[in-house]
């Protein structure tokens, strides 16, 4: 994983790479120097050759021109000597011209400057009689003056030929007879005076003093300007220069060629070197990359010999299996294979030996003793007797596969157990998936649903249009997020309500493949909701129908949040939003609350704040006000109050409570009354039968037609019925015994307190003063507390009732208890009522006798029975102060014990 490119290693490489280039450069430079030297030499020799040749050419020309001078001198001399006539002149001149190509004309110009004779005869320039031009005259005069051969300047003749004239003076003694003129064609001089090989080698040019080229022998070939030579041509002098320039020889290699070749080859070498370098570098790079890949690879890479031992391993071996890559080479591959996988691995290795690439999975031993799943991919290279192997750690994948299988099973189980039905349709509306919950819901099998198209089998026939429209909306992607509520037909024909929530079905690639619907059976929730709604309506109806005023107010601000109709009717229809304290009367004072509602938090709830009865200060009506701190729907603490007008109820409750108490307290008396009634009823039956039998017997006996056996049978039956009556009475006695009084030691003061407590209610109502006078230190009595209480209460009430019509100031009832002898206690109830007449007093204790309209007439009778049961006496006396005194005695506990012992 570390970078291999360190500079120490790179430097020699660089030197190594530079050397060839340096060598090539040195080689090329030396070669160039050599070539330069050689070429310089050659040039030198060429120049020498040119100089020699030019000198030779000049010499040739000079010789030719000197010859012509001599010929012309001869003519001049002959002419001077008059040894020459015109014809001879013509002959000799034409002959000379014919021999010397460079000559164009030969003429004799008289001393007057006019042409006398001219050769060749067909010439058009030097016509006889023509006079010399000014220029020619100059040269002519110089020749006459000097008496010597004189050359004129080269000039362009009217015929377009550059000519050079030579004037040879004719002297006869001292007499000047003109001059012989020879006209050279410059061009011809150049062309004809040098031999052919020269013309082939050089370009020969004649230049005048001004450097202008007058004539050249050839214009055709390329010149080598570097090889040239100039030499003055004298005669004629006048600055004429002869210049020779070597032609470039075609067969000769251009001078630059070797240089070019050297440079070109060097470049080629450089280029090839560069290419080589690039290639090698690339190879090195690739190798490095391969090495890095080998080292970096997450998969294990190794080279294994044909003998099955590791040759080379990458670091992944250490990472995955824990073996050092350095330690493994030499180890047989099979050593690290799991024992159970050895056979399968060997099988694969055999295939490998046969030259087939193989791929297999096995478990391999790690250095720490654990095993890992690996997938091997091995390629044999038979020629190298090696195999290249790649191993990928698939332990994770195996685990993941395992996990996936578990997950899949879990998912399946979850799908099967989930209560929500799932149904997927593709984009064309065909069902592609249903879960078991859905199948359960609709009652169809999965097989019946998968692939089904609209109308689906679970659509109820009466709602197909609705269902079809919902499906259309779904497929159009416009299904509401709240889902559809649809009715479903189960296979057995039942209907149920369901809610479909739809969401797009997206595959792994992110494309939508359909729509998934989650289906919930809402039959029950719907029913529940309906029930809830109904309950809410009922609640409202009930709350509003209440006579009681109900309100809910914020505990802190006292703002009314809710008030029912009764509350609004009493305190104003704009009550909601105002404060309770502002609108409602009566209200409990702050101090009346058990806790201050403003300090309550939600955690303290619910808490009763107040429960009591309040009187409206103005109307005097009574309200039962109950307030409770509770949690409002929005979570804040509120005070909920219910105020019920209990004015009427209070009154009736008072009365009914008294009745209730009376009823309760006389329960045991009533039981006794019922007992008497039952006794009577039960006894009626046998008694009536006995009477009938007897009457029948009497009748028959009177008629005298009775058979004794008939009468006997009837009499037997009558006696049997008498026995039956006896049994009934016995049964009743047993019952009475069971409900015998439970006597114990009782403080008479306690008994009186309880009894008076009840009676006080009546006494207040009637405005009667009740005075209890109990002597201190009374002994406890042995009595049934309840029964005695009943007796006292009964007597007190009788007394109270007796005083209804008495003047208010006289309405006093005294209950007095005191010792009655050493072994008894006497209780007297003394009223100031209407009293009892003598007649009444005699019948007072007769059952069913009463002076009260609502009475049963049982009271006093039973009271006396109770007291007598307790071994006491109940007596009635007239009160000397008006009214009646009822008094009874009870034995003390000690006295009773003595009696019991005696018994």
């Amino acid at each position: 994983m570390t970078e291999i490119d360190d500079p120490a290693q790179a430097a020699p490489n660089r030197w190594y790479w530079t050397a060839p280039y340096v060598a090539v450069v040195v080689f090329a430079l030396s070669m160039l120097a050599l070539v330069g030297l050689l070429q310089t030499r050659e040039l030198e020799s060429q120049r020498n050759a040119v100089a020699r040749d030019v000198q030779w050419a000049e010499q040739t020309m000079r010789l030719h021109m000197q010859g012509t001078e001599e010929f012309l001198g001869q003519l001049a001399r002959d002419l001077a000597a008059n040894a020459l006539d015109s014809d001879a002149f013509q002959l000799r001149a034409n002959q000379h011209i014919a021999n010397n190509g460079e000559l164009v004309n030969i003429a004799w110009v008289g001393d007057d400057g006019n042409v006398r004779w001219s050769a060749p005869f067909d010439t058009t320039d030097w016509l006889t009689g023509e006079s010399l031009s000014v220029q020619q005259t100059g040269v002519f005069q110089r020749a006459r003056d000097d008496g010597r051969v004189s050359y004129g300047e080269a000039y362009l003749s009217p015929r377009g030929v550059t000519v050079l004239e030579v004037y040879v003076p004719i002297r006869h003694g001292r007499e000047f007879r003109g001059a012989i003129v020879g006209v050279y064609s410059i061009e011809r001089i150049v062309r004809h005076l040098v031999p052919g090989w020269f013309a082939e080698k050089y370009r020969l040019a004649l230049l005048n003093a001004n450097g202008e080229t007058l004539a050249v022998n050839s214009m055709l070939k390329d010149l080598d300007e570097s090889i040239g030579f100039e030499i003055p041509l004298d005669p004629p002098g006048n600055g004429l220069l002869l210049r020779a320039t070597a032609f470039r020889t075609s067969e000769q290699l251009p001078q630059a060629l070797p240089t070019i070749l050297i440079i070109g080859l060097s470049v080629l070498v450089f280029w090839s070197l560069w290419m080589l370098r690039t290639h090698v570098q690339r190879r090195v790079q690739v190798e490095k990359e391969r090495d890095r890949l080998f080292n970096l690879s997450l998969d294990m890479l190794c080279v294994v010999g044909i003998d099955g031992t590791f040759r080379r391993c990458n670091p992944a071996f250490e990472r995955i299996l824990g073996y050092s890559p350095a330690a493994l080479p030499g180890t047989p591959m099979l050593d690290i294979v799991h024992r159970e996988d050895v056979a399968a691995t060997l099988e694969q290795l055999r295939l490998l030996a046969a030259g087939h690439p193989v791929k297999y999975e096995n478990r391999c031993l790690c250095a720490d003793g654990s095993y890992k799943w690996l997938v091997w991919s091995i390629n044999p290279v038979r020629t190298e007797k090696l195999v290249y192997a790649v191993a990928h750690d698939i332990t994770g994948r195996k685990a993941a596969e395992e996990a996936l299988r578990a997950e899949s099973a879990f998912r399946k189980a979850m799908e099967d157990s989930v209560m929500t039905g799932l149904r997927a349709i593709d984009l064309s509306g065909r069902i592609i998936y249903v879960n078991s919950a859905f199948c359960r819901m609709v009652g169809f099998d999965e097989g019946e649903l998968i692939g089904a198209e609209a109308p689906f089998p679970y659509w109820p026939s009466e709602e197909i249009p609705v269902c079809a429209r919902n499906l259309e909306l779904t497929l159009a992607g416009r299904a509401p997020s709240s889902g559809f509520e649809m009715r479903i037909r189960r296979k057995n024909g039942e209907r149920l309500d369901a809610r479909f929530y739809l969401s797009p079905l997206i595959d792994l690639a992110g494309r939508q493949t359909g729509w998934m619907a989650s289906v919930t059976d809402i039959t029950e929730p719907k029913r529940v909701r309906a029930a809830l709604e109904a309950a809410h309506e009922r609640f409202e109806a009930v709350i509003d129908g209440l006579d009681a005023a109900v309100f809910v107010s914020d505990a802190r601000t006292d703002e009314i949040l809710f008030a029912n109709r009764a509350f609004k009717a009493i305190h104003g229809f704009d009550a909601v939003g105002r404060t309770v304290r502002g609108v409602a009367v009566p209200q409990p004072e702050r101090g009346d609350y058990r806790v201050d509602p403003r300090s309550l938090t939600v955690g303290d709830l619910p808490r009763e704040l107040f429960d009591g009865e309040l009187q409206h200060p103005l109307s005097g009506r009574w309200y039962h006000v109950r307030e409770q701190a509770t949690r409002w729907v929005d979570g804040r603490v509120v005070r909920m109050g219910i105020a019920t007008d209990i004015t009427d109820r209070k009154q009736t409750a008072e009365i009914s409570r008294q009745q209730e108490e009376r009823l309760e307290r006389t329960a045991r008396l009533i039981t006794m009354g019922e007992m008497a009634s039952t006794l009577a009823h039960e006894l009626n039956q046998p008694l009536a039968a006995i009477a009938n039998y007897c009457a029948g017997c009497v009748t028959r006996m009177q008629a005298g037609n009775s058979k004794p056996e008939d009468l006997l049978a009837a009499m037997q039956k009558a006696s049997f019925q008498a026995e039956r009556a006896g049994k009934i009475i016995r049964r009743i006695r047993e019952f009475v015994k069971k409900s015998e009084p439970r006597r114990s030691a009782v403080q008479i003061a306690d008994v009186l307190d309880d009894a008076i407590g009840f009676a006080e209610i009546d006494s207040r109502r009637l405005g009667i003063r009740l005075i209890v006078d109990v002597a201190p230190g009374l002994s406890p009595v042995f009595a049934d507390r309840i029964m005695i209480e009943q007796v006292v209460l009964n007597l007190v009430r009788n007394g109270l009732d007796a005083m209804k019509d008495v003047l208010p100031e006289e309405r006093t009832l005294l209950v007095r208890a005191r010792d009655f002898g050493p072994h008894a206690v006497e209780v007297a109830v003394i009223d100031r009522g209407h009293g009892i007449s003598e007649d009444d007093r005699a019948r007072l204790f007769t059952p069913f006798y009463t002076t009260k309209t609502e009475g049963m007439g049982m009271g006093l009778n039973i009271c006396r029975s109770i007291i007598e049961f307790h071994d006491g006496r109940l007596i009635v006396d007239a009160n000397p102060e008006g009214g009646t005194i009822f008094s009874f005695t009870l034995p003390t506990e000690a006295a009773s014990e003595r009696v019991a012992r005696r018994a």
Binding site: S677, A680, H681, N684, Q685, P686, L687, A688, A689, I690, A691, N692, Y693, A695, G696, C697, V698, T699, R700, A703, N705, A714, K717, A718, F720, Q721, R724
Partner: protein
């Protein structure tokens, strides 16, 4: 048996669940010469009940199963004309009173004296006899009325409302002679010996309002 004034077909039906009381009643009534049939429950009586029964019914108010009062109501629904005497216990007086209001002849409280019972029974039987002969007469009259021709019926109707023969003749547009013939035939067919008897017979069957 000597004291009984019952018609031979009259019978006293006793329904009481108490075996002793039932048996003693049978004994007592038979001693006085009545034909008595006893049943231990209302259901048992209903099982044998038929319309032709004649006599009177002695019912115990309180019985397990169908009570005496319920049986009384059931018999009322079946248009039973037997007079009913209720036997009540000590606490059943209000119940008996309500039964009385619904048409029972009387009630008698247990324990009762034999004379009271016998008196009530005799009273019932007499009443039953009277109403039975009355019903028989009515049935007879109704049957006779059906035998009248249309014209005779018209004539009868007019006779009943007190029209004279002449007036009848005018109303029906027939001669007095013919009316007389019809009249004689009506009297014959209805078995009436006088005009008063005829009218009385017809009116008991067809109360005045229904007469045309």
């Amino acid at each position: 048996m000597s004291e009984s004034h019952a018609a031979p077909d009259q019978q006293i039906f006793i329904v009481d669940d108490d075996e002793a009381l039932r048996d003693s009643l049978v004994w007592m009534l038979e001693s006085s010469g009545y034909a008595v049939a006893a049943f231990e429950s209302a259901e048992a009586f209903l099982a044998v009940y038929e319309e032709a029964m004649s006599g009177c019914l002695v019912l115990d108010v309180r019985m397990p199963g169908m009570s005496g009062l319920e049986l009384f109501e059931e018999l009322g629904r079946q248009r039973c004309t037997l007079p009913v005497i209720f036997i009540t216990g000590h606490g059943d007086v209000p119940m008996a009173v309500s039964a009385l209001k619904r048409g029972a002849v009387d009630f008698i409280e247990k324990p009762f004296g034999d004379q009271d019972m016998l008196r009530l029974v005799e009273q019932c039987l007499t009443q039953e006899r009277a109403s039975r002969s009355q019903r028989r007469l009515e049935a007879d009259t109704a049957r006779r009325l059906e035998h009248l021709t249309q014209r005779e019926r018209e004539v009868l109707d007019l006779i009943i409302v007190g029209k004279l023969n002449k007036q009848i003749a005018d109303v029906l547009g027939i001669s007095i002679k013919t009316v007389e013939v019809h009249r004689a035939r009506v009297m014959e067919k209805m078995g009436a010996h006088s005009l008063a008897e005829l009218v009385q017979h017809v009116v008991t069957v067809e109360p005045a309002g229904t007469v045309r």
